[in-house]
Symmetry: C5
Subunit: 297 residues, 5 copies
């Protein structure tokens, strides 16, 4: 087991440290771990993601679920944050997602346009901002330009910056795909090199080797892969993403491996709210059992 | 029947609430519903739209028709607003349409360039601004960039923002088309996620399933579809568009279904002014009969 | 005959009205009509346009010709205005053409880049600015963006804005061509919707029907076509362009039809200066005979 | 012989006149003619241009040569100007070349990016700035945008603007090529229409007619062609470029024809420094013999 | 042997001279030579570069190695500089690398987007900034635009600017490749023409002649080639890059040839840290033996 870093060891400025402390030690399990509830899928995929549980189409339902489930924060786009967060403002931390896109056009040249600013997050009382960086996209120039403005503003306002480090685009597809060990490992490193405070990654798949560099064609266990990813992120805190809804036991095992590897926490959306209300809370409780075993030193 | 939201429940700032109250409760039927008269077709399609009723080519005729018909507002581009609204300023609210394009080049990469600013709307005494967002266009990056500036300015000036949420572009064509239930539902959600106050949608066609995600291939009635769309828009008020002139009974039935579903109102242009003057007013009266049955609580 | 609008009916601000009054009532025939001498062909087509009358290559010759011929204004690009207008400044009004391009590369994606600002026009004592808008070009986004800045500056400085509304680009070619009735009519409307004070159009050709919308495939006389174009321009004053040099009687007949339709005047360049000096003045005199018959009310 | 214009006839502002006077009357032959030494070939073509005379690779050598040869100015890019001009600052005027590019990628869409500003030129004590305008390039929009900023800054600082008016790009290649009479004549005109103070052109080749407009397919002598080019430039002073090193007698004859036609001077680089030191000075002396015969009035 | 230039001969402003003096005379061998440790490969190539020596994945390890090995500076991207440099700030100089990219998408149109500013470097106490310029890329326009801002800021803050002058892109590939003598020589010249203070080049390969200009097809020894490159860089200090890890004796010979040619120093990353800790230090010691033989005058 890798010892997770304490936020005092990350070289953070005062504002970022204050807000990360609030997220990790004054919400959720209050033990330095984190469980976030992302809710931008209505924008990223459309309302189809809510057909499995129509109640989840209502942002009020989601914000309440985040409170009931004891999440460390709920992630919203600007429109929903402005319309729905006021009712519960302060009860659960807000992570304002700053960029996003629809999945209607092809993703060969994936880019997630910025919709809101760090200043919007400050105005709405958010405790962190989220930015999707499509690592490896042929249009990385425009992505990095957007990102740079966000990073600079986040520093100026002392706002923690969570980077959704997603390998994406035509070149990624030809080199093992978006969740290969190679791509996830590279993405974690890029987020760190570019100044993310927290990085959200998909769980790496070491068995996806076709087209990856020689170094990644050796045999690695999932545990070894996620440990390497956390290592590549070095002083950037790692959140592991749930992705599409999958079997519970498999998800819980990945969660356990992630925490074991030194990840700070989990960010699970569809796996949580694409089921009936009480069942969601039961699944959350099981995730929290794992998080409870990995408190920060 | 879905209960329509009161504007006090939308989390609006003071200026936006004041102007929306004026539009919905001090004009038209004054019962919280809305009937808007859009008049940007001369720009979007060219003068050919006026051949059916040449009088409609004259903006004075249209502004007078909006007053005579008791509309909640008339929608104009900047040039016509500057040249023709002064004569009747104050008698009928102005919605300044901020972007637009000609339909001469192909729409595969549809983008509607901004022509005027929210500050122009303030200067002209408008009560709302309109923005066409081409949901799903391959150039969504540039669309969102424009939109973001408009949204920010609208907040700064307390100006209600009506989003023409139109699925468009090459990818939409391959996924059920611009008025499929899938596309309209997604578009309504995007407008809400991105902070529209009011969203203008086309009436959804649940029978257009080819190429849509699996969730939309089940059977839905038109009533179910429009209810879902209003639900996806959540705290964003919904206006249903008339589109091309069609049979009156079919249009009236769609209007009734929309209001029944919780839409706030209608925005009908060609269906109104592509007919002789008195006939236009008679059709408007029939629309208002429907609106009268669905007052806000 | 359509009654031409008086400039008091156009909803103009003080500065624009003052300058238009000067152009239309204190120069030329001083009867509310206009005859402009455009001289940007050296840039748009190159010096080849001067081979028919080499004297016309010299900007001094042209400015003097505008004075001798009693024109309402001479149209120059920034370089020539700075080098040659000083000598005669005040004797004939200057229209500063703000954008332009060479015709060397293909025009499929025609765009006319801005070379000078409205502030340059103010500095040089111009009484109007000119902007070429390529209606229907696939790159209308960039064209509109440029135009918007010009329109805003023209409002700020009270400077009349003359739009060269030219259908152009690959899509126009497939829909009847640049001087079809359809294209010219649409272009006049676009200029009006986007806030031009004056619009320069080519004389419409109703016989060019291939590829145009159904509404334009009926039979129209040239007189009917130009009347419709003036109608589409509504409160935007219309100048009809001479275009390439053609037979005098045909040109004069078009001029007569244009004024009869309610156009404010003519803008003739090559038809004037692509002939020997005295012959130019004789042709100008014949144009003025026509203009004299159509004074403003 | 065309009489060359005096700089008092060009409509120049005070600062531009002061600096041009210094260049033309206080350096070189001090008779109103000019001989410039351009030295940006290391950037435009790479060090290969120095293989014929390795000493020329050293910017010190070139600046000294400009002084020894009695040039009216030496042309440098920002990096060399900052590193090498200090040593001899004031002894020979500096023309700061503001844009440039490598010739490694293809030139179909030629554009010369700006590397330095007019303010840099002011700071370094330069007496003029140089800008390469690729007339006829398909990307003229971006070229003109850059140029416009340079022109505006040059006016603001009273800094003479020398335009390298070079026909270039895929469309030029198909219309007679970069040094056809047609292309050179058009380029000279464009520079003048867009406000250059001085234009650098290649010597026109009237025998290159394939693909040029009809007007240029008649027979013209080289002398007629260069006279027409100087005429198209009207009040813009003309410098004729040497281009690639060629036979001395041919070069001298072109120089003589250019001055005879009214050009202000010559700008010869490779023809000067691609030979041994003393031979360079002898060639320069022969050029100056020609310039001495054409003093300004 | 070419005599290396003293930094007093480079025409530097005070701030740049102060910082270069610190780098070259107060760190490393303190004899005017330099040995830098670059560490941006985790971003440029991904974590795979650390598989040969996993300890090198940890930025702390690298910064400590730079101190232990007596390097003149360590090169970091903004994220790692912010997270890891504080611990050792002042003990070894920081070179902040301002741009970078992943190697996932193809490099035909290579461009290295800017991630941080010169002001960031000032804030972090860096003594120089690094910028990768892809000489010959088809998108040189965007590269030069970025570079120009960096150069201007570096001047404003007196911050030495080290240019990674890398031939790259589709056109380079067809003209001898990125490390041909032709390409490296051209790149060194471009950096100098554009105002770099220090240029980092790859060691030139005179045997790669296919597709290069005629001048480079003659026979040159490696020693002649590197001497020519240093000559082309003229008053720009030259650092020779190690590139991929290769045989030690070959690397040391290239290092010796470079210093002999007048280069100021070496910048070796993978050749240093892609081996076990003590072995790294032994290799560094051998490099320093060479540097010790070439002190500045």
């Amino acid at each position: 087991m890798t010892t997770r870093l304490d936020i005092r060891q990350l070289g953070l400025d005062t504002g970022k440290k204050a807000r990360l402390y609030r997220l990790l030690h004054q919400h959720g399990l209050r033990n330095g771990t984190a469980l976030f509830l992302p809710y931008d899928q209505g924008f990223e995929h459309g309302p189809r993601d809510f057909f499995a549980n129509p109640a989840a189409s209502d942002p009020r339902y989601i914000v309440r679920l985040a409170i009931e489930g004891g999440f460390n924060g709920v992630v919203l786009q600007i429109g929903l944050a402005e319309k729905f967060y006021w009712d519960y403002a302060g009860e659960v931390p807000l992570v304002l997602k700053l960029n996003g896109k629809t999945d209607i056009p092809p993703a060969d040249e994936a880019l997630s346009p910025v919709q809101a600013t760090v200043a919007d997050a400050v105005r709405l009382g958010a405790d962190a901002v989220g930015y999707t960086l499509y690592v490896g996209t042929p249009v990385q120039e425009r992505d990095f330009a957007q990102y740079r403005q966000v990073r600079t503003d986040a520093e100026r306002f002392g706002m923690p910056l969570i980077v959704w480090a997603y390998p994406r685009g035509s070149a990624v597809a030809g080199k093992g795909g978006a969740d290969s060990f190679y791509a996830v490992d590279y993405a974690a490193r890029v987020a760190s090199e570019l100044g993310a405070d927290v990085v959200k990654v998909n769980f790496p798949h070491p068995e996806k080797k076709a087209g990856t560099p020689a170094q990644y064609t050796a045999e690695f266990s999932p545990q070894q892969a996620i440990e390497q990813v956390v290592c590549s992120a070095n002083r950037t805190l790692v959140l592991v993403s749930g992705g599409e809804k999958a079997g519970d036991e498999a998800m819980l095992e990945k969660a356990r491996q992630s925490l074991e590897a030194g990840a700070t926490g989990l960010i699970f959306g569809r796996n949580v709210w694409q089921r009936e209300h009480d069942e969601s809370l039961r699944f959350v409780a099981r995730l929290q059992e794992i998080l409870a075993k990995y408190p920060s030193a």
